[in-house]
């Protein structure tokens, strides 16, 4: 069955679904008196043309990325030359920022390809290489009913989809007043309140009973500032561990905090109960205090610094990550990175702020590209260290490497509304924590259960195949249109792709590809040691 090549769609992660057309696969005749039909030679095929690929070179080595299935291959000289031959002369390697990597294809008869390569290579090698390239979907043979990489029709994931992670808004309030807060300084624009213990328990019950076959589930303490409801957290951790044990599952805990409540006692509690911590900290004082202020306007850096150092010193049972937000005027990525690493963070990740274009703290176009420059420099350092089996701890690179390594083909940008849900202070379920307390994005409650009709509606509408702008983009299966909340904030629409980021994301993923190949070839072990454990 032939499919329109421009419609790509959901492919489950765990199994290769796209099966490239294989060579010479007419069903062999059932006639016993006939020999099985053999396709050994290709010269009776009219010609070849490029499929959708991104080719790149690093040093002397040649690589190809197959976007339809997120597969990365290394090529030898011959393989690379064949693909070069098929590229129309005026369209030499497209820049990464271009959505369409193979805009024009030309059909080259095999009768031309083989002689063009013959002085340097044996005919049998050339034929073998063409077969292999065809087998991985890098090229198509023309004039022969060929399907290329099959794309199944867009379809919903199997339902009911098991829950993996719940993000609990345990404190709909915050003692800080960071200017860029997506939660409107802690209460999402609704009355300040704490989650009740009963609601928290119901949430854990909901998570465990809806987790399908998952052996591990994750509870994330969020807010506002979650440590404002420490009492609930203390009680819930024990409850969840018990309930988990009864259900035969392990419960993991993490927390995002502004660090102002990190007393020694709290730190010891977090360490004892193995709660992973992500600290919201933007860099050295001059950057951090620009936006992360108390409601009075005073910066919080001086107050949190000793507490953060104490945390890093005493809490050894889980990795501690720093999560820095980049905003207008706060773009010195490397300076912030080193500052946070020196404090002792194992991992530092940067996120450009989610904003409407006119927000005071929004990054300008030029600033976005300055950030990219700095990202690239850090990425180069990451690669150098990785080759020597060391981990730099720059989360942004680790994340993209993880997705490339797994070869993810995503129909949705993230697990929101799927395996991840946010729980509001009253127990209502939301697409994710960023949509907490937003009536429009409510999907049921931990008491009533998930509103499956709403979920289905969301999943249908959010599917990558519906984002017409994405269909020809070479990073569509990794980006999948980008964060729903980002789109909602910037464009007012949940399901629109984040067009303001497209070139930026393509550039970043290209850097990721580059890093991937530069690490994989000399030190594939790096992925086993540092990347596989993350879980895509």
């Amino acid at each position: 069955m032939s499919q329109s090549p421009s419609i790509q769609s959901f492919v489950p992660l765990s199994r290769l679904l796209a099966t490239p057309a294989t060579l010479g696969e007419f069903p062999t005749s059932p006639h016993t008196s006939f020999a099985p039909v053999v396709f050994g030679d290709l010269t009776d095929r009219p010609g070849a043309e490029l499929s959708e690929i991104r080719q790149f070179r690093i040093g002397g080595k040649s690589y190809v990325f197959v976007p339809a299935v997120t597969a990365i291959f290394g090529l030898d000289e011959l393989g690379s030359e064949i693909l070069e031959l098929l590229r129309p002369p005026q369209a030499q390697s497209a820049s990464a920022t271009e959505a369409v990597q193979t805009p024009a294809t030309r059909h080259v008869p095999l009768a031309e390809i083989i002689p063009a390569l013959q002085p340097r290579h044996h005919r049998s090698d050339i034929v073998a290489a063409i077969k292999e390239l065809r087998g991985i979907g890098a090229l198509r043979l023309v004039g022969f009913r060929e399907e290329g990489l099959n794309s199944p029709a867009p379809q919903l994931p199997p339902m009911p989809f098991p829950q993996r992670t719940l993000v609990l808004n345990v404190a709909n309030d915050c003692n800080l007043g960071c200017s860029y807060c997506f939660a409107a300084q802690g209460d999402y624009g609704t009355p300040k309140r704490m989650m009740s213990e009963e609601t928290a328990r119901r949430s854990v019950d909901f998570l465990l009973s809806n987790s399908g076959n998952h052996k591990t589930v994750t509870v994330v303490f969020f807010g506002g500032e979650p440590l404002m409801n420490l009492k609930l957290i203390r009680g819930l951790v024990d409850y969840a561990n018990d309930a988990g044990a009864k259900a035969g599952k392990e419960v993991e805990f993490t927390m995002t905090t502004n660090a102002t409540y990190l007393t020694r006692e709290v730190i010891d509690f977090l360490s004892e109960k193995r709660i992973g911590v992500s600290v919201s900290i933007d860099g050295p004082k001059q950057y951090h205090d620009l936006r992360r202020t108390y409601k009075s306007g005073n910066g919080s850096y001086d107050f949190i610094r000793p507490r953060v150092l104490d945390l890093l010193n005493r809490h050894k049972t889980r990795p501690i990550a720093a999560r820095a937000t980049l905003t207008h005027g706060v773009t010195a990525v490397q300076e912030c990175f080193w500052h946070l690493k020196e404090m002792g963070f194992h991992e530092v990740g940067f996120a450009p702020v989610t904003s409407a274009a006119q927000d005071e703290f929004a990054l300008t176009h030029d600033e976005m590209w300055q950030v990219m420059d700095e990202f690239r420099q850090l990425a180069n350092l990451y690669v150098e260290k990785a080759i020597h089996n060391q981990h730099l701890g720059f989360s942004n690179v680790s994340n993209i490497l993880s997705e490339l390594h797994a070869g993810v083909v995503k129909a949705y940008p993230c697990g929101a509304g799927l395996g991840l849900l946010g729980v509001g202070a009253d127990g209502d379920l939301y697409l994710c924590h960023r949509f907490s307390e937003s009536r429009e994005h409510r999907m049921g409650s931990v008491r009533e259960g998930l509103d499956e009709a709403k979920q289905e509606q969301f999943l249908r509408q959010a599917h990558l195949s519906r984002k017409s702008g994405c269909q020809l983009c070479w990073v569509r299966h990794i980006c999948s249109g980008g964060c729903h909340h980002e789109a909602y904030t910037r464009h007012g629409a949940l399901h629109t792709p984040n067009a303001h980021y497209c070139e930026w994301i393509r550039t970043w993923i290209d850097i990721g590809l580059d890093c991937y190949a530069r690490i994989m070839d000399p030190n594939p072990f790096f992925f086993e040691k540092f990347i596989d454990k993350r879980g895509a």
Partner: protein
């Protein structure tokens, strides 16, 4: 016309003689019953003496496939719904008593091969289990289970190679025979395959591989489970066919080579074990004693299954299109055509034991 008796004694004798002949008539009229499945969800009970349908019983699942009558004639066990369900059909009440749901949670089963022991308390099934995870299917090895009929609880006995389609139980109920690519003998006490009669995988390279598909179980009359085989003589490269005859009572296997191939689905052996009749697009009468084909007639349509009357005189063929055709086994003349309410598809045509549905 009976002459008027001359004396009272003669009158008594006459009456006695009449009574005896009436009784004999009644005995001769006791019907031979058969069952087969029809699309979309029915079991048809067919009277092979009167050549008419007795009743149609609705199954709970669709597309009934295998049918296994119990030895006392009270029940028929039927697989349905893609061979996943095992239904217990009560022939007396003419309704489904219950459905044995054998699949453990998270599993889908396909049952190919069902057999029941003589006292009716234990079923043996060959299952192909698949675990349905959220985003993939994991195929477990095919295996044979023992099922307690009363409780519906199943216990695994042994794993078998891929390709098993039928089961049979020896008379002493010590061995379970599983017919797939080869014929496997499972010792029920030991819980493993203790012997194999090689069909598709001959030990000796000079023997051809015998290709069989034992999907059609119809050996009630003779105790011989007979399936056509196809092979290529490895030395002459000639295509050949024959029959593989498994004596279900003893487990002994014989092969009967017949010559140039005629496509055939299944065979039924006569009660005296001297003849076999095989069907697909032809009906072939085979002399088993002299190992040769006696007669071949063209059929107007494809048939899958056949069964034979207790006296060996009438042949019933069915399968595919919605008819049962009755043939005279001596002349291979068509005696009667009976229309069925639906297509029998690939289903058994089993003889019910005497006493069923009295």
């Amino acid at each position: 016309m009976v002459a008027a008796p001359k004396r009272p004694l003669q009158r008594c004798l006459r009456a006695a003689a009449m009574a005896a002949s009436l009784a004999a008539l009644a005995f001769a009229q006791e019907s031979e019953l058969y069952v087969l499945g029809v699309h979309p969800h029915g079991i048809v009970v067919f009277d092979g003496t009167r050549n008419e349908i007795v009743t149609e019983i609705q199954t709970r699942g669709r597309a009934p496939k295998e049918l296994v009558p119990s030895a006392d004639g009270k029940f028929v066990y039927v697989t349905s719904d893609g061979r996943a369900k095992l239904e217990v059909v009560n022939l007396e009440t003419r309704a489904v008593d219950k459905v044995l749901e054998l699949a453990p949670p998270g599993y889908r089963l396909t049952i190919f091969g069902v057999v029941i022991n003589r006292n009716g308390g234990r079923l043996y099934v060959h299952v192909k289990p698949v675990r349905e995870l959220i985003d993939q299917y994991v195929v477990d090895p095919p295996q044979v289970w023992s099922v307690d009929v009363a409780t519906g609880k199943a216990r695994k006995i042994a794993e078998v190679p891929q390709g098993v389609v039928a089961l049979a139980l020896t008379r002493d109920e010590r061995q379970l025979l599983a017919w797939g690519r080869d014929l496997y003998y499972i010792d029920l006490a030991e819980g493993r395959i203790t012997d194999t009669f090689r069909l598709m995988n001959p030990a000796n390279p000079t023997e051809g591989a015998l290709n069989t598909l034992a999907l059609f179980v119809q050996y009630e009359r003779s105790g011989i489970f007979s399936i056509p085989y196809y092979t290529k003589d490895p030395i002459t490269s000639k295509d050949l066919m024959g029959l593989v005859n498994l004596d279900v009572n003893t487990g002994k296997v014989d092969t009967v080579e017949l010559g140039a191939p005629i496509p055939l689905y299944s065979a039924v052996v006569s009660p005296d074990r001297k003849r076999a009749y095989a069907v697909m697009n032809q009906l072939v009468a085979i002399d088993l004693e002299h190992q040769r084909i006696l007669q071949t007639i063209d059929l107007d349509r494809t048939r899958y299954v056949a069964n034979i009357s207790r006296d060996g005189k009438r042949l019933f063929i069915s399968g595919a299109a919605p008819y049962i055709h009755v043939y005279d086994t001596d002349t291979l003349q068509l005696v009667k055509t009976i229309e069925l309410p639906g297509d029998p598809a690939v289903t058994g045509f089993r003889a019910l034991p005497p006493g069923a549905m009295r």
